[in-house]
């Protein structure tokens, strides 16, 4: 492997391209086309960004539950809610089948932003937390399901049925960091505000701004802080068996003692090390938190133990030679720092 063309370099190039395309792409696909392309993109690309090329599925899903569920219950016509939701999920699934959870690791603008912030933190010599303790990870994991169930479906549904005021119709968008990020990236600060019109809007806008600040700062130290609780990750997890792209593992007894794959994983998926270790055939290990970034495959030292497959054909496999070159490149890359911060007591 050339040190210049590792999978990570290719992935970051794709992420950069997709970031530019999704945030500014209206000039490519046409100003009005973003309203038409899908409105069901499996990544956080915000419709509030007036230059974007396509936008994420979470906006229509919230709107459909907010505006249609109450009407469907009133009229007894379930199709009023089912048809739009199934259309959005169907379109989502169609796009999702192509890349599976790689939409998170290769396409999502917010995911890319967090990776860039993490590089900035490393270059500034800030404290690194490469892995969280297992107990902390276990506490964080259910949050994404609460975000999906509560903010994308639950609260909009309760609003539609009249249990909550209108402000709670699209609560996830109100707090989504990508809404503020992508609009700021187009030079507009319109989405960075505190809304004083009602207590609910005020609470949601404060929460959104605070969360965005929290994500910026935490991404400097911890890998992918928001991805761990993102409802899109949970929505992907529901459909993950439908995608053509897969991560598979054919583990050996050496895996029990190694764990480099789990160390490399930015989402702290320890099951990469512990599952499918004594098996004679490759098994799927695209777990709920996986973003198909491929770092585990890059840092696996054993031949073909981990593989990225597309339509069950290996497209990238673990190999000792690649591992050595990748590890050397990573060490060199991490050695380059712009500022050397003094180590804190916590670390020492």
């Amino acid at each position: 492997m050339s040190q210049r063309f590792s999978l990570t370099v290719i992935r970051r190039s794709v992420q950069l391209f997709m970031f530019i395309f999704l945030v500014y792409g209206a000039s490519v696909v046409g100003f009005y086309a973003a309203d038409k392309i899908s409105g069901a993109l499996p990544s956080l690309s915000c419709a509030y960004d007036q230059m974007n090329a396509d936008y994420c599925a979470l906006i229509p899903l919230q709107h459909q539950f907010h505006h249609r569920l109450g009407a469907a219950v009133d009229t007894g016509n379930a199709l009023q809610i089912l048809m739009p939701v199934l259309t959005t999920l169907g379109t989502f699934l169609l796009l999702f089948v192509v890349l599976n959870k790689a939409f998170c690791g290769w396409v999502c603008p917010l995911g890319f932003f967090q990776e860039v912030m993490n590089i900035v933190g490393q270059k500034l010599g800030l404290r690194r937390v490469n892995q969280l303790p297992d107990a902390t990870v276990d506490k964080i994991r259910p949050v994404k399901w609460l975000m999906l169930g509560g903010l994308v479906f639950g609260l909009p549904a309760l609003t539609s049925l009249g249990f909550l005021s209108d402000e709670w119709g699209d609560p996830f968008c109100q707090i989504c960091p990508s809404r503020i990020l992508t609009t700021l990236m187009t030079g507009s600060h319109e989405q960075l505000f505190v809304d004083t019109s009602t207590p609910s809007y005020m609470a949601l806008s404060i929460l959104g701004d605070f969360l965005f600040g929290l994500v910026i700062a935490m991404a400097l130290t911890l890998r992918q802080p928001f991805c761990r609780i993102c409802p899109m990750l949970a929505l992907h997890a529901v459909f993950r068996k439908a995608g053509f792209a897969r991560l598979v593992k054919k583990g050996t007894s050496r895996c029990d003692r190694c764990g480099l794959c789990a160390d490399a994983c930015p989402m702290d998926i320890r099951e990469l090390q512990t599952e499918h270790n004594h098996t004679d055939k490759a098994r799927g290990i695209t777990l709920a938190d996986c973003t198909l970034c491929g770092r585990c495959v890059e840092f696996c030292p054993d031949k073909d133990v981990l593989q990225l497959r597309y339509l069950n054909q290996p497209i990238f496999s673990a190999s000792p030679r690649y591992f050595k070159a990748r590890k050397k490149a990573q060490t060199q890359w991490e050695r380059v720092k712009l500022v050397e911060m003094p180590k804190s007591k916590v670390e020492s």
Binding site: D35, V129, L192, V194, V215, G259, R270, V346
Partner: protein, 267 residues
């Protein structure tokens, strides 16, 4: 707008002859149920002698001829998604008048884009929004919007355009060398209720007229506009909260429990 002082000038100008325009007839709510339900409009200042031809150009470019009831018109939903164009035209030997208004309907998706609708033949003299508002965007006070003025398809440079609102703001603007007009919508609501959709919208009317070869061309474009969200949204407070979030993030970073899986295994 710095309009009030210009009103006497406007009244004397030939622009003041341009006076057809579409306006909503009744507004029970500013929200319009997200584009569902009937919409009613009045063609102001049209006379029966001029016999306006009225058409609704659908989002898929199907042209539906409509008949005015007096000066009023009731539009049923077309079942098609996206922008439609309500157009009234009248053409005589010495005049050509047109009034346009873009309306959004919800319905099934169509294969055509608003770009195609904007390019649809309307009249010789036209003023076209550049662009029309998209998802999560609407005309708002305290913001600027662009339009393109064309005559027989060619950009109309340095052409005066009269901009007025229902709340009395008036200004004469000019297109630039490329026929582009920039309109800054004034914050002229007599009373703003500081909440989303709580203030009834105003109407922005743009009038353009031109005389060529003894023919008087007039065109108007009307649209609603809403009170600026700046009345209840504070960007500086937002920046402050973001800063607090970052500060909290740095505090959390220092306390974040770190874990080394490989080292703990060795132990």
């Amino acid at each position: 707008m710095k309009y009030t002082a210009l009103i006497p000038l406007v009244l004397c100008a030939p622009l003041a002859q341009a006076d057809w325009y579409w306006a909503p007839y009744t507004e029970t709510a500013s929200h319009h149920g997200h584009g569902r339900g009937a919409k009613q409009f009045v063609l102001h200042n049209a006379t029966t002698e001029q016999q306006p031809d009225v058409a609704l150009i659908h989002s898929d470019l199907v042209r539906e001829t409509l008949r005015l009831d007096g000066n009023r018109l009731k539009l049923r939903p077309t079942g098609k998604n996206n922008y439609h164009l309500l157009l009234a035209t009248a053409k005589g030997q010495r005049y050509e008048y047109a009034a346009a208004r873009y309306l959004y309907f919800n319905g099934r998706p169509v294969d055509t884009s608003p770009t195609d609708l904007l390019a649809a033949p309307q009249a010789s003299l036209v003023l076209i929004p550049d662009p029309l508002p998209r998802e999560h965007w609407k005309y708002e006070s305290q913001k600027s919007y662009r339009y393109r003025a064309t005559f027989n398809g060619a950009p109309l440079a340095n052409q005066p355009v009269l901009a007025t609102t229902t709340f009395g703001s008036t200004e004469i603007l000019h297109t630039d060398a490329f026929g582009v007009l920039e309109v800054h919508i004034p914050d002229d609501f007599p009373e703003v209720v500081p909440a989303k959709r709580a203030t009834p919208p105003g109407e922005l009317k743009l009038f353009i007229s031109l005389e060529r070869g003894g023919v008087d061309y007039q065109f108007s474009l009307s649209s609603r506009y809403h009170a600026s969200a700046k009345h209840w949204k504070s960007a500086s407070a937002g920046a402050l909260v973001l800063g607090l979030g970052m500060f909290a993030g740095f505090v959390v970073n220092r306390r974040l429990p770190s874990h080394d899986r490989r080292r703990s295994k060795v132990k």
